[in-house]
């Protein structure tokens, strides 16, 4: 294995295989996230959710996908054609790029690693790629040449930039505690507390950080109750208004990939990644991600959408100061502990 990896061509072969495998895994995960959301939302509303196509409705996504794929792929007349087509591509590209640096698991014996790249600015890279996501929405909204789309796009731009600040700030205490931006280091972070020595989920050390993170992440992925860019009731779908068929699928896909990305990131940053007693790493990671996804769906099933000024007030007047205070307090505690 190592010989193959050190060989120049072997390296590329392995990377290509890894990328293909990861794409497959993430796409499958996305499909079943949609299924999971529909079932969970159904249960919250005391419905069974999809149960017609395949056992437990597991093939529902295939049916929906085929249906959308065979829709006529058209571009409305007065749109900016190039940008209109480009926008969903940006959405999917930005969504998948983040997975280049997210480690999914690690077998100790034999040593198998589940990641494509293990870079020492991992978290920042994820942010960098997800910050490109806003283009997809703004361009889509602008190019559709429709006032609802435009409003959705503008809302998205303001919302995503506002909450990106809080999102970044919420993770600073984690970086301060661990002293690294490499996702693997953060997962491998171990503490010695009296007799205890071993990995610890960082949520115990930065609970406020996690709360800010999860709120900001929901806002970043445009999910309810922060789904103002696509608010069906007020903006009839926002930036998605003019999209249908495969282009709509791409936006939809990107949204769910982003959901999984932030859940995976939260797993790595706050819940100790792939460590869970005796559970095999990949499975442990999966369980944690699924639980976080359930949290997402739970929030969606519970809370009504925020009004726009409330959204901005929450972002700038609550989460941002809270994040700053959290950083300062963590710094003081770290100084006190480390001397």
């Amino acid at each position: 294995m190592n010989d193959l990896y050190n060989n120049a061509i072997g390296h590329w072969v392995i990377v290509t295989i890894a990328i293909t495998a990861l794409l497959f895994v993430v796409l499958t995960a996305t499909a079943y996230t949609v299924w999971f959301e529909r079932v969970a939302l159904g249960r919250i509303q005391r419905r069974p959710g999809p149960n017609r196509v395949g056992p437990y409705g597991l093939l529902q996504l295939a049916a929906d996908g085929i249906k959308l794929a065979f829709k006529e792929s058209f571009v409305p007349a007065t749109t900016d054609r190039i940008l209109y087509v480009l926008a969903p591509c940006i959405a999917v590209g930005a969504a998948f790029l983040a997975w280049a640096v997210i480690p999914i698991g690690l077998w100790d014996n034999p040593k198998v690693t589940y990641w494509i790249a293990d870079v020492n600015i991992g978290v920042l890279l994820v942010f960098a790629f997800s910050s490109l996501n806003v283009y997809a929405i703004v361009i889509g909204g602008y190019a559709s040449n429709n006032k609802y789309s435009l409003l959705g796009g503008l809302r998205a731009a303001a919302q995503l930039i506002s909450y990106e600040v809080a999102l970044g700030l919420s993770l600073v205490p984690t970086f301060m505690i661990v002293g690294s931006l490499r996702l693997r280091d953060i997962v491998d972070y171990t503490v010695t507390w009296g007799p205890y020595h071993g990995p610890i989920p960082l949520i115990l050390l930065t609970p406020i950080g996690f709360i800010i993170y999860i709120i900001a992440a929901v806002a970043e992925t445009n999910r309810a109750p922060f789904d103002l860019p696509e608010a069906e009731q007020e903006l009839i779908g926002g930036f998605l208004t003019e999209y249908s068929g495969l282009k709509f699928v791409m936006y939809y896909l990107a949204e769910y990939v982003n959901m999984i990305t932030v859940s995976a990131l939260a797993t790595l940053l706050f819940f100790g990644g792939w460590y869970l007693w005796f559970v095999p790493p990949f499975l442990a990671f999966l369980i944690k991600v699924v639980l976080l996804l359930f949290l997402y769906i739970w929030l969606r099933g519970t809370f009504p959408r925020l009004r726009y000024d409330m959204l901005m007030r929450l972002g700038w007047k609550v989460l941002l100061p809270l994040g700053i205070v959290n950083v300062i307090v963590t710094g003081i505690i770290l100084l006190a502990v480390q001397g």
């Binding site: 940008l83 600015i121 942010f127 960098a128 910050s131 806003v134 283009y135 796009g153 503008l154 930039i161």
Partner: protein, 167 residues
């Protein structure tokens, strides 16, 4: 490998730069500029400036250009009128600029680099490395820029508030 990446990124950057100045709709120019920025961020990575790479993508491409996009979307698709006040203005400017380019080119021909300082290349450009400098030797300019940002934010809020909105 590095050379190939350099030329691909450079071609992207130049194409984007030409796009910036030649597209009629401002939104396309902005998107071309985003292409330039992403190409430059790749070059930064090639120059082992990891943190600058991330800052370029997050701050420049992810925030500043979105602001431009926001304003353009807000103001509507205003194409600029091709009004030739000075008919030869374009060609004159191009001529002058080409002369400037020739000057830079000539300068680059005779450039002599100082002997590089001996730095540990394993940490060169990483976040820790930047942070150590930023918060020790260069703390003063760092604080100055933060004040500048604060002033800019206040100024922008002041400028963009509505007429007679004296709250």
């Amino acid at each position: 490998m590095a050379i190939a990446i350099f030329f691909i990124a450079a071609a992207m950057a130049v194409a984007g730069g030409i796009g910036v100045i030649s597209f009629r709709q401002p939104i396309r120019s902005v998107l071309s500029l985003v292409v330039v920025m992403i190409a430059l961020s790749i070059l930064f990575l090639l120059l082992s400036a990891q943190f600058i790479f991330v800052a370029q993508v997050i701050v420049y491409a992810g925030a500043v250009m979105v602001l431009f996009l926001f304003v353009i979307a807000l103001l509507g698709p205003a194409k600029e009128m091709a009004r030739g006040r000075l008919r030869f203005q374009t060609w004159l400017s191009a001529l002058f600029v080409l002369a400037l380019f020739g000057l830079v080119w000539a300068m680059l021909q005779g450039v002599q680099y100082r002997q590089p300082e001996k730095t540990d290349l394993n940490t060169f450009g990483t976040v820790q490395w930047i942070a150590v400098y930023l918060f020790t030797n260069y703390l003063y300019p760092f604080e100055l820029t933060s004040i500048l940002l604060l002033v800019a934010a206040i100024g922008a809020i002041y400028l963009s508030r509505k007429e007679g909105d004296d709250r």
